[in-house]
Point group: C2
Chain length 239, copies 2
């Protein structure tokens, strides 16, 4: 019985991968990664040029993305079947081979790997290599610390209702909003209600060549990549 | 004019340093790091065996730690003088030499480097290399994902009043409490009030040889390292 290594690859720049993750990637004979059908996928893109010759690749392509509402029973059933299927395939493969699963960011922080992890635990040995989170790549790109001393930091999904977003923004010294994209107009209104609109930044693809940083007030609505995050820096309690 | 590189070293295991940070450390001719007087210091410990021969070390030793209350004017004045002094010394050094400042974790996430950064910005070129946070090392060590899907994650300082801690714990899917130590009895009471005591974990020195993981309910009071964190996993909204 071999094992599955889930390698956290960090925020996007391959140079920000950990030494351990880089070694796992370079030594891998079997790598698996999630992606949308027809795309290269962010995890695979990060390791471009690093895989050994003859390394076998398993692209785990999501069966559905935007065709079905994300909270519909059909969507959830399709995704569950997809994860069940890949868990079974990787379990079988790991009986004789070590498999490296590539994951952008930090695998245990909103990562997709956890859907395999919850299915395989107790059945396959797994090793998780943590990574630098995407949000860390983004706040580092802004050139300003996100949190100081006794700051409270909140990580919020942009899917929350507007008033709840506003309340939590108001009550946090620093915050990060994930899942922006089509939620940006609502997030902007919540920022304004919380008195945090002027200073809020939007960062997409932090640390990569596609990096983009703007004040939220400067963003045209409808022009927000889904993976962009909105962040407000703390440190306001300092003298 | 050379520059200052602040190298985020990650949670403790040197193997979890990024490729870029490792290169900066190994190539450094001048390294500076914070530590308590008389201690080796966590940042310096992480790079043990990695520094080049002849590398000059600058141990920036905090002038005061527990002798004065942390909110007293004397304490704040002493710390400000200390940061001013080191900012001036590093600025002078960086006029002719590249300097690598070693920082555990992720420099812009509650890091000490930001006290130099705020003093040196606009005066010296600085490059910040993000790192894996200490909390990420800790939740990875628990073997369970910290956040799923639309979870809200809150990072709380253990110095908050008990009722505020309890309220914020109750309102978060997942949370991390920093600065535990002597605050542990209060944190335990807050966890109980929030209905989160049973599942809460305490992790110290995640990813290092001193790693220690326990349920909070199993911790004897008075037996909590200051740098331990308390965490409660999300994922409760999953079916």
């Amino acid at each position: 019985m071999e094992k599955i290594i889930c390698a956290g690859l960090g925020p996007g720049d391959p140079d920000l991968m950990s030494l351990r993750a880089a070694r796992a990637v370079q030594g891998a004979r079997h790598v698996a990664y999630f992606r949308k059908a027809g795309r290269q996928g962010q995890a695979r893109r990060i390791v471009e040029g690093m895989l050994a010759e003859g390394c076998v690749e398993y692209a785990m392509e999501y069966p559905v993305t935007t065709e079905l509402p994300a909270d519909s029973a059909d969507y959830i059933a399709a995704l569950n079947g997809f994860y069940d299927d890949w868990a079974a395939r990787l379990e079988k493969l790991a009986a004789t081979e070590e498999v490296v699963v590539l994951c952008e960011g930090d695998p245990f922080f909103y990562g997709s790997f956890m859907h395999l992890h919850v299915r395989l635990r107790g059945r396959v040995e797994m090793e998780i290599v943590p990574g630098i989170t995407g949000m860390s790549g983004c706040w580092t790109a802004t050139g300003n610390p996100i949190t100081w001393g006794n700051d409270i930091l909140t990580v919020l999904p942009g899917t929350l209702p507007e008033d709840e977003l506003a309340r939590r923004m108001r009550e946090s010294d620093a915050f990060v909003v994930m899942k922006t994209g089509r939620n940006l107009p609502k997030i902007k209104r919540a920022l304004a209600k919380a008195g945090r609109l002027e200073a809020a930044m939007l960062v997409a693809h932090g640390t990569t060549r596609q990096e983009r940083i703007a004040r939220v007030t400067e963003m045209a609505e409808g022009d927000c990549p889904y993976f962009a995050i909105v962040l407000a820096h703390g440190g306001l309690k300092r003298g």
